[in-house]
């Protein structure tokens, strides 16, 4: 079928991004907007808007889709993007959900189920398992084990993770067996509050490691990969800088991860765009499955830069029921791309979110520079939403060229009215360790500590 009108159930830069592709394809866009976003740039760019109470309300989104006469819903990332209930509601209403099937969303959303699928598909996973909690509730889950015994078998340090979670919430590192019970209790309570699912599981904590992910695209039958990305520059599991391809990985590891991601995609009969996340130990050439993100990612533009593809268009093509037009052999990966997340957060104050009003916004343009944003002078940054203001994506024939462009482009970004991560990004771009490439997930915290110390030394 050919999609003619799409409801975009999201906000911010991803709403603008989806609209841009829809416009190119000749698809009408109807944007679901909250009252706080009624005057936003995306609201003005959409062909039509329809107000909803919350981006997290499945029924509100479905009502909007029906009222708008939309033949599909694009959920973007975050919010309801991986919510199987929305996918099922769409199916029941005869509306196309632009994303994987509800079954796949369920499998990917439940971290333990995803882990089981990964094992079935032959992917390496970290030693771990489900924790038995108390005498009621989640303990009924099959295979649940006593936390202390499980942790002993895994070996310390261990990571406590929420089975129904994501985005870093409910995660806890435990190095001392004495802290395990407390960490499990707090993690479980946090998971219950955030995801309505108290189940937690333990996994070996690998440190230092790199966060490398593989972009996959499937039509339900054929699955291909579109290369890898490195997202190791993160703080409390929030990514700040991503790049493609992952630098200094080694061919064995790279090929291994890409092959594993495709194997999992095939196992899941994956339909649409997805990301398979891995932890990698580049030194020992080992990697382990982390999770599947069954949606478009914030960092998808770095993959677009090195493949020359429009990933939103590929999502839509699959949603229209088409077979993949690309074969693995026809995917060409050229050059290097880096994405910087410019957030309304104050790096000098522990990355505290800084909502407010943007008074000026100037972005660079030029060869190898792309900016995905929804803000301009006068834009509101509401406190209730994610603080992402813009993504600066630079690309070049080599990582060195991309890095050079990143430094020049960051210097030309000017955002006034709210504190942003720009100073941190600029300093990171000048850091020798980052420039060398291949840093681990511990890097940013270490770098921040060093920077803070430096500031203290100077002011002292």
């Amino acid at each position: 079928m050919i999609l003619r009108r799409v409801l975009i159930a999201n906000r911010g830069e991803i709403a603008v991004r989806v609209m841009r592709t829809c416009r190119r394809l000749g698809i009408e866009t109807v944007l679901a907007v909250s009252a706080a976003d009624a005057d936003s740039v995306p609201a003005r760019l959409a062909d039509k808007t329809i107000e909803i109470t919350s981006y997290l309300d499945v029924d509100a989104v479905m009502e909007a889709a029906t009222a708008a006469g939309a033949d599909a819903v694009h959920p973007g990332y975050g919010f309801l993007s991986e919510n199987p209930r929305l996918a099922r509601a769409c199916e029941a209403a005869g509306v196309v959900f632009i994303g994987p099937s509800a079954d796949v969303l369920e499998a990917a959303g439940d971290k333990l189920a995803a882990r089981a699928h990964a094992v079935a598909a032959g992917l390496p996973v970290l030693p771990g398992g489900l924790v038995r909690i108390g005498a009621t509730g989640a303990d009924g889950a099959p295979g649940a084990a006593d936390a202390a015994g499980l942790a002993e078998r895994i070996g310390y340090p261990v990571l406590v993770k929420a089975a129904g979670g994501g985005g870093g919430r409910g995660l806890r590192v435990v190095r001392d067996p004495a802290e395990l019970a407390g960490a499990v209790a707090v993690g479980s309570a946090e998971a219950e509050a955030a995801f309505g699912d108290a189940r937690v599981y333990l996994e070996r904590y690998v440190f230092p490691a790199r966060h490398v992910e593989v972009q996959v695209l499937g039509d339900g039958e054929n699955v291909i990969h579109l290369g890898d990305r490195d997202c190791s520059v993160q703080r409390r599991y929030q990514k700040l800088i991503e790049e493609a391809p992952a630098p200094r990985l080694g061919e064995t590891l790279r090929v291994g991860m890409r092959t594993a991601a495709v194997a999992l995609g095939l196992h899941l009969k994956y339909q649409g765009l997805g990301t398979v996340e891995f932890l990698a130990d580049a030194g020992r050439s080992e990697f382990w499955f982390l999770e599947v993100n069954a949606r478009i990612q914030v960092e998808h533009p770095v993959t677009e830069a090195v493949t020359g593809l429009d990933l939103v268009a590929e999502q839509i093509a699959v949603a229209e029921g088409r077979r993949l037009w690309l074969s693995q052999a026809s995917v060409r990966l050229d050059g290097h791309a880096i994405e910087c997340r410019i957030n309304a957060e104050d790096p000098a104050a522990g990355f505290r979110p800084c909502p407010g009003t943007v008074t000026s916004a100037v972005f660079p343009a030029g060869p190898g520079i792309r900016v995905d944003t929804h803000i301009q002078a006068g834009s509101a940054v509401p406190p209730q939403y994610d603080s992402l203001l813009a993504k600066l994506i630079v690309s070049g024939a080599s990582r060195a060229e991309a890095l050079g462009r990143m430094r020049g482009a960051l210097a030309r970004c000017e955002i006034g009215g709210v504190a942003t991560t720009l100073p941190a990004l600029t300093a990171l771009a000048a850091d020798g360790e980052f420039a060398a490439g291949g840093v681990g997930t511990e890097y940013l915290a270490r770098w921040l500590g060093r920077e803070t110390q430096l500031v203290r030394d100077k002011s002292g």
Partner: protein
Amino acid sequence: MAEVQLVDVSLRDGNQSLWGATGLRTDHILQIAPVLNRVGFRALDFMSSTAMGVAVRTHREDPWERIRLTRAAMPDTPLQLIGTGFRFISWERAHPEVMQLVYERLVAAGISRFVLLDPMHDMDAVRRSARMVKRAGGTETILALTYTISAVHDDDFYAGIAAAAATSPYIDRAYIKDPAGLLTPERARTLIPAVRARLGGKPLELHAHCTIGLSPLVYLAAPDLGVSVLQTGCGALADGSSLPDAERVVANLRALGHTVDVDDRLLALAARYFSRLAAAEGLPSGRPQPYDEAFTRHQLAGGVLTTLRRQLSELGLEAKFGAVIEEVSRVRAELGYPIMVTPFPQMVMGQALSNVLSGGRYEVVPDQVIRYVLGSFGKPTAPVEPWVLDRILDRPRARELAGEPPPLSVAELRQRLPRGISDEELLLRFGMPAEEVDAMLAAAPAARHYTPEVQPVLRLLRELGSRPPVSRLVVDKPGFRLSLTRDRADA
């Protein structure tokens, strides 16, 4: 009331009729391809071997890549190629093996519908070509019944061709192709039923240029006469010497009670895109044409007339314009009424020009005319005037050309061309001078995105970048002042 489908010709015939075949580049096409894909056209007139040559020569773009990328961007609408079946890019006759390879590569790249246009209506040749297309995997073949006014091209003539097509399992449908826009509604009322009656139930399409403003009216009569598909243009690439404007045709057909299942919003989007592109690139927009009785005699398309006028004025011979036009009608009759479609307008015009400008008639005869008389393009529809035939063949050059070696087979081509090249490159090198193919291969890949409104700014930036650095740049107009000063640190 009938259900009518549309075939859009903007990208091929529109571009050829109004923009000299050179207006559209790959990025222009790819930008609008996804929209065209969703309009609901039955097919798109997309390519010809001539257009493939122009892509290489004028734009240094790989035409095979253009087909592949467009196919990927518009998977639902079949892409059509129009060809004579005996040549590829160059005017020389190609070996049947070469033509078979051409069809195979075209199908592999994404062409599925093939128009078979034999300018002589040589049905044996058309059947052979149709078979080759099917063997190559082409899904639809469509025979061109090229309309013209002459002593021999009456309704019975076209009905006879239709009958020949009816019995061929390799020909799927036919269309009446009126390249000069000569068909009137009156003639359509006898011609279309005559053709339909003998076509054996195969669908009939209509393709009539707007040259003298007749075709939009013919299109309104056609559905009731049994035409199921009308070929139209979009926005700036409709009207003029192109085909009727799709938006107007749709509105008129619906007003008459017919059904046309296209997405009006997307059709308007496509039309506006071509108009925006025309404005950004300084290309002319097609406009509705006034009726011109004289045209029905010389039948020369606008482009040919413009070229003639320019050539004559360069020679200081503008006064001869009327005489040359008169001579065109005479030469055409003497040569057996070749239909005025490529390459014949150029050929007839060339002969008429030399007849008027040199010492006497047929004193000087271009090679194309000799080849035509020798039958290189097939058998002329009516016999060539005997005295003209003698005069043309009784010259050394005619004997030379008659003794030309037969066209090279694929194996012979492979021996002569660089080793290890792809079939696509082989075919380009067969049809074009090596240096043009080399230059295309050396060029950067074609751009894939195009925004008309940004072009003036990009041109300005390119110009500024290509000049010696200026220290200050000021744009000053009421209510606006932009002043750029060169930064010493960056200098």
